[in-house]
């Protein structure tokens, strides 16, 4: 039911959208989605309050599971719905954020052309994401993975008349598709060597040599996840994807699609622990590097959405690191990261969506993305101001907001694994606090852009936009107190979160230091310290604001190397050899038919000649065979 409703809504809006008035389309989309949200809340309620099984874990329910393509007895593609703690949690997250985005878009996208198309695509996206999280086996997940990719392509390129939007959507699709190649190979390897496509390791029948190939398979699958979750070096699509409408960025890039990779690793977590723990640790380091990389770029960006995009990349790095530092399934000795990662996913979805929607509200007010057009907005937009501030505090990890709890758990897990990792992540957390507050001060304090404000006074956004902001802010405040560990943990047992005092105090202290640094540098109207720092480290600053030239590297590789050396010969081959072959066939047929046509000359003597020759040939044949 949960899946069918958005699918229906997509179909109705997609096909009949032209005849709807825009308002009706929006209402239909929002209505179907509120039903979905309600259903997912009910599901979560029933699931988590149901009695546990004998070992004290939550049962993994499979209400529907039918075999779609059977290969052998154990190897078959299934389609179905699986409910287990993380999938139910994801259902709640996805439907909540999606509902907020639907409500928000009501007034954000008012007057835009293609309103119905927008809601249709939103429904499609929600459906694909929901399908992804309830997948029973990896192949179904891949199916919905691709669907998510397609719908994100459609949504990012929503303003299809803008060339940069089209290019960005193409880039997103191509990069994630390229990563999905690795994913697919990983799936195939896993299916072949593991003997099954499902997620539970005890259902596996290993082919010989399987134990060696499995880490490779799992690593390749992670490559797919890395593409979707924008790990280095496949992160290039995410900042460009900000060309889409801001609510789309909230939905896709804050809350749902980018966490698909994290979800994948979490799903395969038992397999990782059992067969490839080293790969898991490598994944953790990749995540850490990405987090650091993105955080450093975010410190110097001037476009709001780009800052938030890099912040997203960084936070996802956090989640991946949390998964990567796990060494066993038992949460008490090393499996803490699993629970921490999921918890951070949950809270991050809420406050990142809040940040994006708030950014959208600001952009709506000043009609520009650049921070230079903003400044001093706290006088004009109180609600946005407060909610944005709440979200910034949450992401910086200040108690009692939810971000503190989840980030704290991650740091605790990192310290358990290795002190180096722990300190690296703490530094990154400090950078997070720093750039978020730089952004905050740049928008709401600082120098006002007087000319712009005189032309068009910024105003607070209408209720449809502020309601989601307030709702999400409320969640951000209280989510920290949800006893997450009792619901989701690596082996399903209830795990009560206890705050490790040293880690908690360290992180809070460092966060406060960063915030004060940001305040000191950025709060006043003029920023002498920032300018001086910018001049002193000019090269670094330049490199960072050009995102360390990674895009240029890609450009170079694809254009000079791939296009010139690989694509051009292939194109030549296609045009000349393949087409040439068919042209030759056609020419041959033509010439042959011309020759044969001459046989019908109307000359009796020629006919008789041929007749005689045929008869003689027949006689000779008979002679020779008898």
């Amino acid at each position: 039911m949960i899946l069918i409703l958005p699918m229906l809504s997509f179909l109705i809006l997609g096909i009949g959208g032209k005849w709807f008035k825009p308002v009706d389309a929006g209402r239909l989309g929002t209505l179907s989605l509120s039903l979905v949200t309600l259903l997912s809340y009910l599901t979560a309620w029933f699931y988590f309050t149901a009695p546990r099984t004998a070992e004290g874990t939550y049962a993994t329910l499979m209400p529907y599971n039918f075999t779609w393509l059977p290969f052998t007895e154990t190897l078959h593609f299934d389609l179905g719905i699986m409910l287990d703690p993380i999938s139910v949690m994801m259902l709640v997250v996805i439907s909540t954020v999606s509902l907020m985005v639907h409500l928000y878009s009501f007034s954000y996208m008012k007057g835009e052309k293609g309103f119905q198309r927008y809601y249709a695509f939103l429904s499609l996206f929600t459906m694909s994401m929901l399908g992804l999280v309830v997948a029973t086996n990896i192949f179904q997940m891949y199916l919905f993975w691709e669907l998510v990719g397609v719908s994100s392509y459609l949504l990012i390129g929503f303003y299809y008349t803008k060339a940069s939007a089209v290019a960005a959507s193409k880039k997103a699709f191509i990069v994630t598709r390229f990563a999905d190649l690795g994913f697919l190979i990983g799936i195939l390897l896993y299916g072949y060597y593991g003997g099954t496509f499902s997620f539970t390791p005890d259902a596996m029948s290993l082919v010989t040599g399987g134990a060696v190939m499995l880490p490779l398979a799992l690593g390749l699958m992670f490559v797919g996840g890395a593409g979707k979750s924008a790990m280095f070096p496949l992160h290039i699509w995410l900042p460009d994807a900000m060309e889409g409408p801001t609510p789309v960025s909230a939905l896709i890039h804050a809350a749902t699609m980018v966490v698909a990779g994290v979800y994948l690793v979490a799903r395969m977590f038992p397999l990782f622990i059992a067969y490839a723990p080293d790969v898991l640790h490598i994944i953790g380091w990749v995540g850490a590097f990405t987090a650091f990389f993105a955080a450093s770029i975010a410190c110097v960006q001037t476009d709001i959405k780009r800052v938030l995009a890099f912040s997203t990349i960084s936070q996802i790095g956090f989640m991946i690191v949390a998964l990567g530092v796990c060494t066993s399934m038992n949460p008490h000795e090393g499996g803490l990261g699993y629970m921490a990662s999921m918890f951070h996913l949950f809270t991050h979805a809420m406050f990142k969506a809040l940040l994006f929607l708030g950014a959208g509200s600001i952009i709506h007010a000043v009609h520009s993305n650049e921070m230079s057009a903003m400044g001093g907005l706290r006088k004009y937009m109180p609600i946005t101001h407060i909610t944005f501030l709440i979200a910034c505090l949450a992401i910086a990890g200040i108690p009692p907001f939810s971000g503190f709890f989840s980030k704290d758990e991650i740091l605790a897990a990192c310290f358990e694994y290795s002190p180096i990792m722990g300190w690296v992540m703490t530094i990154i957390a400090a950078m997070t606090a720093f750039y978020m507050f730089r952004l905050y001060y740049g928008i709401f304090w600082g120098k006002e852009n007087k000319e712009l404000h005189d032309a068009h006074t910024p105003h607070e956004s209408p209720l449809a936009m502020t309601f989601p902001l307030m709702f999400l802010a409320a969640i951000t405040c209280v989510a920290g107190f949800i006893p997450f560990g009792t619901l989701v943990s690596s082996n399903g047992e209830a795990y009560h979160i206890h705050l490790d005092a040293t880690v908690a105090i360290t992180s809070v202290v460092i966060a406060i230091i960063s915030i004060s640094l940001a305040t000191w540098i950025y709060m006043r109207p003029t920023q002498p310290v920032a300018d001086m720092l910018g001049k002193r480290f000019a090269r670094l600053h330049n490199a960072a604001s050009h995102r360390f030239y990674i895009d240029e590297v890609y450009q170079f590789v694809t254009h000079k190397i791939i296009f010139r050396c690989i694509s051009t010969p292939i194109a030549w081959f296609d045009r000349h050899v393949v087409d040439g072959f068919f042209d030759f066939l056609a020419w041959g047929t033509h010439a042959t038919s011309d020759e044969i046509r001459d046989l019908q000359s109307g000359q009796v003597q020629q006919y008789a000649f041929v007749f005689l020759l045929g008869t003689l040939a027949l006689i000779v044949t008979l002679l020779l065979t008898f």
Partner: protein, 110 residues
Amino acid sequence: MHVNDKIMTIHMEYYLIVSAIMFFAGIYGFFTRRNTLAILISIELILNATDINFAVFNRFLFPTGLEGHFFALFSIAISAAETAVAIAIMINIYRNIRNIQVKNLNEMKW
């Protein structure tokens, strides 16, 4: 009539050689002549060659029967009739295109 072993009778093969030569002479004429009437004459040759064959086979292989001879007889009669009709057609064509060369008679082509 008794078959006389002392006198050299003509063996069957020689008759067949003659009829084969006639047959292929007719074929050569059929391919090579431009005048349609000459082609018809060649056809006559071919038909006559086959008549010889029938008579020869009847005489040497089945002396007790007369089928081959009658076949040859009827064949002669029919080829005469066919020749008459063909010549009538040729005269009609001559009236229309004033020419008897066979290369002009190529209407039934593509």
